[in-house]
């Protein structure tokens, strides 16, 4: 089993789907829930085995599995893990059981719901681990259908609109991606066998004319920018987040958005280093606009879920800013921020969902004083809000700090504006918390129950990790760094600023 641990991780959830499909209507809702949670936990276990097998000090792809899938098309089943994907995979396998536990109370079409969730897990894990571009695209597209069904089937009032918008936006973005991938493939045949292997295509792309590779860069970029989402392609996100059921929002924010950022890091930077540098300022400007714009929009929301959704736009801007700063600190910080945002915002959506289940409203104005009614729930809420704001000692601080630090080294402007957004985040998050937790209690909210045992089980692991990663981020960074170094070496030839320490050493202005 050691030789194919990645396949086990990817396809284990699909086994759960098979059980649910075969069970169908004969299966009780309770049984379906247990099948889902056991499958997701087993997948998490398998991913821990994977963690044990990985040499975390090395750069490059590990545990690679390579076999032909569809020879006539050139499609290979080629998967591997490195410092970037390692933690994203673990984040995914970690958040899925949490979301399943959080949707325990779903009571319509239970088996179908959990089948969609597990199918989604396979698609996401496949996207993170695929090293064959067509294989990646296959998984990337396969994400759409289950998520579409989850939003459209179990969401709130305006769910169908949100689901279709989500689907069409993402698919429109990836349309160009497919053409670009096939274009690369068509040009890979010259030096031997044509292939979608990202390692082989890296050399193929390097041989293309500058203009061509820039166009291809943009094709890749659009696909991932929609997914991240980067301003101005983010408009599907608030709708999708708001209408999705709690688990849908958690997974959307926690993992799906990461696929976009991961794509930028893995494919744009690796395949088109020249174009990445050429467009770096352009992308960074979009990222900074996204950071500030997301924060301002969040500030104006009256719907809690929409507020958190816009905060995601802002936080993901940090990730992209970090990736396109090409410095050691910024990229590592960006990857760290991906994981941390998944935990903090995921937890935020979980809590918003729990509040909604009790109050049946998402309007800030209709809440208030809940801290006195449900002290434990709101206590947890405050903890997660602090994490999300970036309080030192909790997880998000480290990632944001590294990104800002790394960005400062290349541009003072971007760095300064990004810092500004951190302050805005503190304002909108704390202000919304204040409106939820304090003030007069609404009469009908006076007897709401506090956290149940199941909800504690949902929240405790996430909060524990938020604390652990906040106190000891080296756990993550030490294994991300080798991959970062390799990527930077690939993008930035020697002699350029790649480390903040260099700025001081060369005597450049601080």
């Amino acid at each position: 089993m050691n030789g194919s641990i990645l396949s086990v991780v990817i396809f284990l959830p699909l086994a759960g789907v098979a059980v649910l499909a075969v069970g169908g209507r004969r299966m009780t809702d309770e049984a379906a829930r247990w099948v889902a949670i056991v499958t997701a936990l087993a997948t998490f276990g398998a991913s821990l085995v994977m963690l044990g097998d990985v040499d975390r000090t090395a750069a490059g792809y590990q545990l690679v599995e390579d076999t032909w899938w569809v020879r006539s098309v050139g499609l290979r089943y080629l998967v591997g893990v490195d410092g970037f994907s390692l933690w994203l995979v673990l984040l995914t396998t970690f958040l899925f059981p949490i979301s399943i536990l959080a949707s325990w109370k779903i009571d319509r079409n239970v088996a179908r719901y959990f089948a969609a969730i597990l199918a989604l897990e396979t698609a996401v894990l496949g996207s993170f681990l695929a090293l064959d571009l067509l294989l990646f695209f296959l998984f990337f597209e396969a994400i759409l259908v289950p998520m579409y069904l989850i939003i459209g089937g179990w969401g709130s009032a305006n769910r169908v609109y949100a689901a279709i918008k989500f689907f069409l936006f993402t698919m429109a973005g990836s349309a160009f991606l497919l053409v670009a991938i096939l274009y690369l493939y068509a040009h890979s045949g010259a030096g031997g066998d044509a292939s979608f292997d990202v390692r082989q295509l890296t050399t193929v792309a390097a041989g293309l004319p500058v203009q061509t590779s820039r166009v291809l860069f943009l094709a890749f970029f659009v696909a991932f920018a929609v997914k991240v989402p980067l301003f101005p392609l983010h408009t599907w996100l608030p709708d999708a987040h708001t209408e999705a059921p709690t688990a849908g929002s958690v997974l959307l924010a926690g993992v799906l958005l990461k696929v976009g950022a991961y794509g930028l890091l893995r494919f744009n930077l690796t395949l088109f280093p020249e174009a990445s540098k050429h467009f770096a300022t352009f992308v960074s400007v979009l990222a900074v606009i996204g950071i500030v714009y997301g924060a301002i929009c969040a500030l104006m929301q009256t719907d809690v879920k929409r507020l958190v959704a816009y905060s995601s736009v802002s936080h993901l801007g940090f990730v992209v800013l970090g990736i396109f700063a090409f410095t050691q600190q910024a990229i590592t910080g960006g990857v760290l921020q991906m994981v941390n945002h998944g935990l903090a915002t995921g937890a935020l959506f979980l809590l918003v969902g729990m509040v909604y289940e009790r109050t049946h409203t998402r309007e800030l104005s209709e809440m208030g004083g809940l801290a006195s009614v449900m002290p434990w729930l709101l206590g947890a809420f405050l903890f997660v809000v602090f994490a999300s704001v970036g309080l030192p000692g909790l997880n998000s601080f480290v990632g944001e700090f590294l990104v800002v630090l790394g960005t400062f080294a290349v541009s003072h402007w971007f760095g300064s504006i990004a810092v500004l957004a951190v302050i805005l985040a503190a304002i909108y998050l704390l202000w919304s918390y204040q409106r939820v937790a304090y003030g007069p209690v609404h009469e009908e909210h006076r007897h709401l129950p506090d956290l149940s045992g199941r909800e504690v089980a949902v929240l405790a692991p996430v909060m524990a990790l938020i604390l652990v990663f906040g106190i000891y981020p080296k756990l993550l960074t030490s294994s991300i760094d080798p991959s970062t170094k390799a990527t930077i070496a690939h993008v930035q030839p020697v002699g350029q600023i790649t480390d903040v320490g260099q700025v001081r050493a060369t005597g450049a202005s601080p």
Binding site: V70, S72, V73, I164, M171, A186
Partner: protein, 487 residues
């Protein structure tokens, strides 16, 4: 001059089908009370026997061209025969069910007509002479005109009339093209064995180049009509809507397969020396079909019309593959055609079940809450729709990747961009049906046809669509050997 040897084995499938068709007609005419099951039995035995004959043709080692070099005996034709016979079998079975449900609409002539049409289709895919192509084209077209109007309702008759008038018009174009090809090359043979055929004549540039180009354009119009590519698609929505659903299930798939196989042979073989002249035309037809089909389908509120426009777009995708004038493009188109057959026959099969007796429920509203009423049927339909939209892990995804890949390989990446963008537009209307099925409440008391057997059949097709999506490699050997066209 030696007397030509009469080798009939390569046309055995056609002969068997015609014999079965004649037997069916005689039975209909002379039996005192015609039994539906006997009709069906004759048709299915005919199809099975023809398939067996086609199988021997797959391993044919005799002369590559027979019957005075007018019919090619190759795996290309044999593959077409398999696909077409499969579609015919499904058409007959679904009509049997349709007739059981609605005995007044039953006409015994259905089976002989389907057999005749299939014979014409198999012949057109194997024809090595433009006259035989035309002959086969008329055989299949005339059968289809009658099939369209077979129920005799007003809508069905109107559709048949429209189909006939426009079809006759396009046949005239085609015949004109044949005449000009003859004028340009002094022959109607696609590949000549004893004397030079069109491909040799064009390669040697012995005839008039202008006439050859005109012939090419006219032939393309004729084929464009049959494969329902824009701008020759006008008949498609009306005919699909008006014709009885089992007929549509059969003809939407089979006509396209047959016409495309013939198109491949005529253009990739006979007009191969004119490749540089016809690829831009195919390119334009492909782009137009994809765009027109995808956009007009959005406005449709009737599922049969929607699938009709979708079939226009699908024709465009297949043409996209053919802009790559080599074995790669042919393989891509063939794979797409096989997948298209599976998903179209399946989708119309589901439409037949949902529409119930009298075919009243073909509006999108009749799909509201289908997942609640009959979850299996909804799941199967969702598979077909996702495959038509080209979403993994269905076969439609691999099919799209292969045609785009072929087009890009030939340098036609703008066409691929048009294709993928139109796919996004198309996803919208396919998804809309899924929205109705899964996210809306049932609209009223409307009940889908509860029968089990046709559901199983649709389920088998859906499994095939997913299997081909995950393991498309199982066909690659077949496609590889079938895509070798001799000239």
């Amino acid at each position: 001059m030696p007397t030509p040897q009469l080798v009939l084995q390569p046309v055995l499938p056609e002969m068997i089908l015609c014999a079965a068709a004649i037997a069916g007609m005689l039975y209909e005419a002379f039996a005192r009370r015609s039994e539906r099951s006997i009709h069906l039995g004759i048709a299915l035995v005919g199809v099975a026997a023809a398939a067996a004959a086609a199988y021997t043709l797959w391993n044919w080692t005799g002369a590559p061209f027979v019957l005075g070099d007018t019919v090619a005996a190759d795996r290309f034709g044999a593959l077409a025969a398999f696909v077409l016979l499969g579609a015919a079998a499904f058409g007959c079975l679904s009509y049997a069910h349709y007739a059981e449900r609605d005995p007044e609409a039953y006409r015994g002539e259905f089976y002989p007509l389907v057999l005749f049409a299939t014979a014409g289709m198999i012949l057109i895919a194997a024809a090595n002479d433009l006259i035989v192509v035309f002959l086969a084209l008329e055989l299949l077209s005339l059968s289809l005109y009658v099939l369209t109007g077979i129920t005799g309702t007003r809508r069905s008759t109107e559709a048949a009339m429209k189909y006939f008038l426009l079809g006759a018009f396009s046949s005239a174009f085609f015949l004109y093209g044949v005449a000009m090809a003859y004028g340009a090359t002094n022959t109607t043979k696609i590949v000549g064995v004893t004397s030079p055929g069109i491909v040799q004549a064009l390669a040697g540039q012995t005839g008039s180049q202008a006439l050859a180009l005109l012939a090419m354009a006219f032939l393309l119009i004729g084929f464009g009509f049959k494969v329902s590519s824009a701008p020759f698609h006008m008949w498609t929505p009306d005919v699909y809507q008006g014709a009885p659903t089992p007929v549509v299930a059969y003809m939407s798939a089979a006509t396209k397969v047959a016409a495309f196989f013939a198109l491949i042979r005529v253009f990739d073989v006979a007009l191969q020396p004119l490749t540089w002249d016809w690829t831009p035309l195919v390119y334009a037809l492909a782009a137009l079909s994809i765009v027109v089909g995808s956009f007009l389908a959005i406005a449709q509120r009737d599922i049969k019309r929607m699938l009709a426009y979708s079939s226009v777009a699908q024709a465009g995708f297949i043409l996209t593959g053919l802009t790559s004038p080599n074995a790669l493009g042919i393989r891509a188109a063939m794979f797409y055609l096989i997948v298209y057959t599976l998903m179209t026959v399946g989708a119309f099969g589901v439409v037949m079940l949902v529409s119930a007796r009298g075919e009243e429920q073909t509006s999108l509203e009749s799909y509201a809450g289908l997942a609640k009423r009959s979850p299996g049927l909804a799941a199967v339909m969702a598979v077909f729709l996702l495959s038509l939209a080209g979403i993994p892990p269905t076969a439609g995804f691999i099919a799209k990747v292969t045609v785009f890949s072929a087009a890009i390989e030939a340098g036609n990446w703008p066409l691929a961009v048009i294709g993928v963008l139109a796919s996004v537009v198309a996803a919208f209307f396919y998804l809309r049906v899924i929205v109705y099925m899964y996210m809306r409440e049932p609209a009223g008391e409307l009940e889908a046809d509860p029968s089990m057997l046709p559901r199983v059949a649709a389920g088998v097709l859906a499994v095939a669509v997913v299997t081909l999506g995950i393991f498309p490699g199982i066909l690659s050997g077949v496609l590889r050997s079938a895509s070798v066209l001799r000239w």
